[in-house]
Symmetry: C2
Subunit: 363 residues, 2 copies
DNA sequence: ACTCATTATGACATCGGTGTCATGATATCG
DNA sequence: CGATATCATGACACCGATGTCATAATGAGT
């Protein structure tokens, strides 16, 4: 592989002048520049990042640790939104920065992380993003203080900068949207109550009801999923929870589910019991996993879990930390997504809207 | 970040001795080694790959160009097996080699490839793997002769080493398996005839029939998919093709489809016409996209498209090229996968098996 | 104790760029 | 035309690790 010295020799100038040409530095006489550029393309010269990194003490590398590559498509069937979307957001945001992204995949084994971090340190990455597959707390081995670290979709108790989905606002806005459509008796079949997401979303659900002056109904709030994959148990839990709701004297008009996949399974169960969607009961999911929300009939109302945005924000934050341009902000940073509409929720005319509909055409 | 000089100073030895300790070189007195190791952990010293790469003229890096990261989950709904599986195979195989994998994503834009290759050359990658999303011919910008290149799931006309799925054998074995189950009238609804895969699989289908002494029936071989995504047109094509088969005076007992997704769509169409699977007609797919084959009822018989294996073979080939241990072999290398069983194909007792069943219990 | 063979360690140069400073070549102006 | 400012270029050192060679420390054998 040709070096800057080869180019210098071929074009009859000093290496430093070649360096000036490739970097567009200072003034170089046109004739000289041409000679050098000719030599560069003749030799197919490409500068070495290793040498540059040594001299400048800057690698231009950013590390990414994830399990999304090795686990993603396999798990699509039995989990939430693929964390690969976060990786996509990171890639996209990093592209513009000129840094090179070094991706390391854990293969799902957390104990491989120290090894991966070590490799990153050997490459002198300027920063590091750790991506978790769902909103949770993590405990990462410490990285050298010089290496900036940002957590995406997770956080720790050491105050490491983190970017998280705003589960509270997501569920809050979703329930608020249901209330706006006239629903007042709204059930919520949650994911495992041990999940961070569930804790925050539950609060969002409760606050949205409270804000609308709707009393809490404990019988409408049921955990109906596990945090470990067990197809049969999941199916039973969901069936049981739906059965309890449908057996109530006052059946809810709308049911929120922990995620889109749960809602999808519920479609099947509800239909097998002769419940018509959305006429008999309205349904909402969470995640806005388009493969589900847009494929189901009727299309599923949901709340966007903004994975791409989380990746982008995490990248921006990291780049700011690297450039020293980070403006003070609260940690963790919460990213919220919109409520995504769907035909799985029907409008319930309330007395007020009924009155107003006398004078106007209801849309 | 601490350097080898810092460690040397702290432990009172020369940098060269520190180098010996971290590399386990030659003999170093136990006492010295201990001093050095203490200093290393005290300082949190990690050797710099950049410096090593410069000195040794070996980067330890391998590049990977793909569109799988940015496009994968989005497209799962409307295409074949995700090429991310190839990336997974590559990652797994590369891990063991000690090389670091540099992943570059095209974002689906081929015109970004030269830029990515340039970045890889700046990093002095020792080799490069290009992964295509489906079996096809590609035209890559030339890389410097020193950089080894392997094509995965694609090939060119310059004799670049390539690893491809053995579409011929896959379809051949699948049809052979159908024949072994007693089918003799076997239809094949192919993907777009413009695809490489279709060309080879068609030949496999024809040869398997010929080998069993079954005459070709042109009316049973119908292209029924497009190579551009168009949901409505695809649906119409498939419906029409199935309609033609079912209207024949001699309806086929088994239908092979271009891939599992086509077969899945066919399940719906066939059932809507009152055709029972597999009693009225047997069905086979291609790809063994487990999310489909194992989820459908009845489970779908298929032929494995060995993406992970293609990734592994491509990696092995590249590493051999890098180490100079490549044994001569035909190019492209074809990787074949097994027929994967499913309940979508029924056994048809032939006269011969009928006779044999008199004396034995049929399994 | 003294040679000779190991063993243990260090000095130095090198890999490929680029910052610093110096110097040579042009241009500008009185 | 000569002095000075500006432009163009090069010499040299350095970033961090390590191969080469030299030298110092240790041990073995007589």
């Amino acid at each position: 592989m040709a070096t800057i010295y080869d180019v210098a020799r071929t074009s009859g100038v000093s290496p430093k002048t070649v360096s000036r040409v490739i970097n567009g530095d200072q003034a170089v006489k046109k004739a000289t520049r041409d000679k050098v550029e000719t030599a560069i393309s003749a030799l197919g010269y490409v500068p070495s990042t290793a040498a540059r990194a040594m001299r400048s003490n800057k690698s231009g590398l950013v590390g990414l640790i994830t399990g999304a590559i090795s686990l993603s498509p396999n798990r699509t069937e039995n989990s939430g939104l693929p964390d690969l979307f976060i990786v996509q957001g990171i890639q996209k945001a990093m592209e513009a920065s000129g840094k090179t992204l070094l991706i390391a995949d854990t293969g799902g084994k957390m104990d491989r992380v120290p090894q991966l971090i070590r490799t990153f340190e050997e490459h002198r990455v300027e920063g590091l993003i750790y991506v978790a597959d769902h909103h949770r707390k993590v405990e990462l081995p410490s990285v050298s203080a010089a290496t900036k670290l940002v957590l995406a979709n997770c956080y720790d108790d050491r105050g490491t900068p983190a970017v998280l989905p705003d589960d509270y606002r997501g569920q809050f806005n979703l329930v608020k949207a249901l209330i706006a459509k006239g629903h007042r008796r709204i059930a919520y079949l949650t994911l495992s109550p041990r999940l961070e997401a569930t804790i925050h979303r539950k609060k969002g659900y409760q606050d949205a009801l409270a804000q609308a002056g709707i009393a809490q109904a404990p019988e409408l709030l049921i955990p109906a999923d596990l945090d470990i994959p067990d197809h049969d148990a999941e199916e039973q839990l969901l069936w049981d929870a739906l059965d309890r709701l449908l057996s109530l004297p006052d059946v809810p008009t709308a049911i929120c589910f922990g995620n889109d996949r749960m809602a999808m399974r519920a479609y099947g169960i509800l239909r097998s019991r002769g419940v018509s969607l959305p006429d008999d009961v309205s349904v909402a999911g969470y995640d806005n996993h388009k493969m589900i929300t847009q494929t189901l009939y009727p299309t599923l109302m949901s709340a966007e879990l903004p994975y791409a945005a989380i990746g982008i924000r995490a990248t921006e934050m990291l780049l700011d930390m690297i450039n020293g341009t980070l403006t003070a902000q609260t940690n963790p940073m919460l990213v919220s997504g919109p409520v995504t509409p769907g035909n799985s929720v029907r409008d319930i005319p309330t007395s007020i809207t009924k009155i107003s509909s006398i004078g106007r055409t209801t849309k």
